[in-house]
Point group: C2
Chain length 143, copies 2
Amino acid sequence: MSKDLKEMEVLRQHLAKHQLKLTRQRELILTAFLRQEHVTAEVMYHQLAKKDPHLGLATIYRTLNLFCEAGIAQARHFGSQAQYDNISHKGHHDHLICTGCGTIVEFENCEIERLQEEVATKNGFVIQTHRLELYGLCSRCRH
Amino acid sequence: MSKDLKEMEVLRQHLAKHQLKLTRQRELILTAFLRQEHVTAEVMYHQLAKKDPHLGLATIYRTLNLFCEAGIAQARHFGSQAQYDNISHKGHHDHLICTGCGTIVEFENCEIERLQEEVATKNGFVIQTHRLELYGLCSRCRH
DNA sequence: TATCATCTTGAGACGGCTTATCAATTTCAA
DNA sequence: TTGAAATTGATAAGCCGTCTCAAGATGATA
Ligand SMILES: [Mn+2]
Ligand SMILES: [Mn+2]
Ligand SMILES: [Zn+2]
Ligand SMILES: [Zn+2]
């Protein structure tokens, strides 16, 4: 998969720039991470237990945070657990969350993004990041 | 202050409807809460320690959550601690947060709100609440 | 106004999530 | 190959918010 190789290269560059090392665990976690849209550290922990039963939860957290710094992942705090989004494949996006069943729908809306910039400019701000989450009931849960 | 009285009335109605009681603590916390745009439970705890050194932190949390149910406050989760916004005076609003100095600017943008509804409808959702936070640098912090 | 079922409070225990600690291990530049 | 530096895994610690429960307050009722 050439995409995985691309991300691996991004990681490699980030590691080199910060005197960090490429470890077996980091490779393993990256590969698994790139297969999903968004995960929690806990979920990855259980997924990866099959491939490496000794991989520690702390390492998962550390590595996902590293991915955020490298620009491969983006952390969000839904409810109680942090969700790590794969932004390298899909780019920036926001979320609709069903409060009934927990379903998460990703969306992108350029017009909203543009208006956000407008609001920021009007207030003298330059936006670095933003978070937009819409909570509600999906069609199935409205019955 | 007629405004405080108005909110007190909203609270009174909510309490009546749910078989809850109006206590000295709830009055005290409401009065203090209405003087600010947004606070954390911990901050209120310290502010109110002067007026009532025995007021418990759990009571502050319980009461702020009660205000949310009554429609007087709105909770958000900035960073690690929950912020409780006074929405009774200002109505619904979103936030611009300076990552440099921590300044919070409140704003309202009907067009964005409308587009949010549009996105939700397109995906079969009915929105209950939403959260929009723009993080960036204010003009002062850009130097 | 007195009664008393019900609600509320305060103090601290508890729990979930994430980070810190640290000795043992691994990486990688030299 | 060597060794300084980074990383790991196990687990302790920390933080925030809720839960627990006995003591106290409230307010509908008589
Ligand atoms: Mn967005
Ligand atoms: Mn809004
Ligand atoms: Zn649903
Ligand atoms: Zn600033």
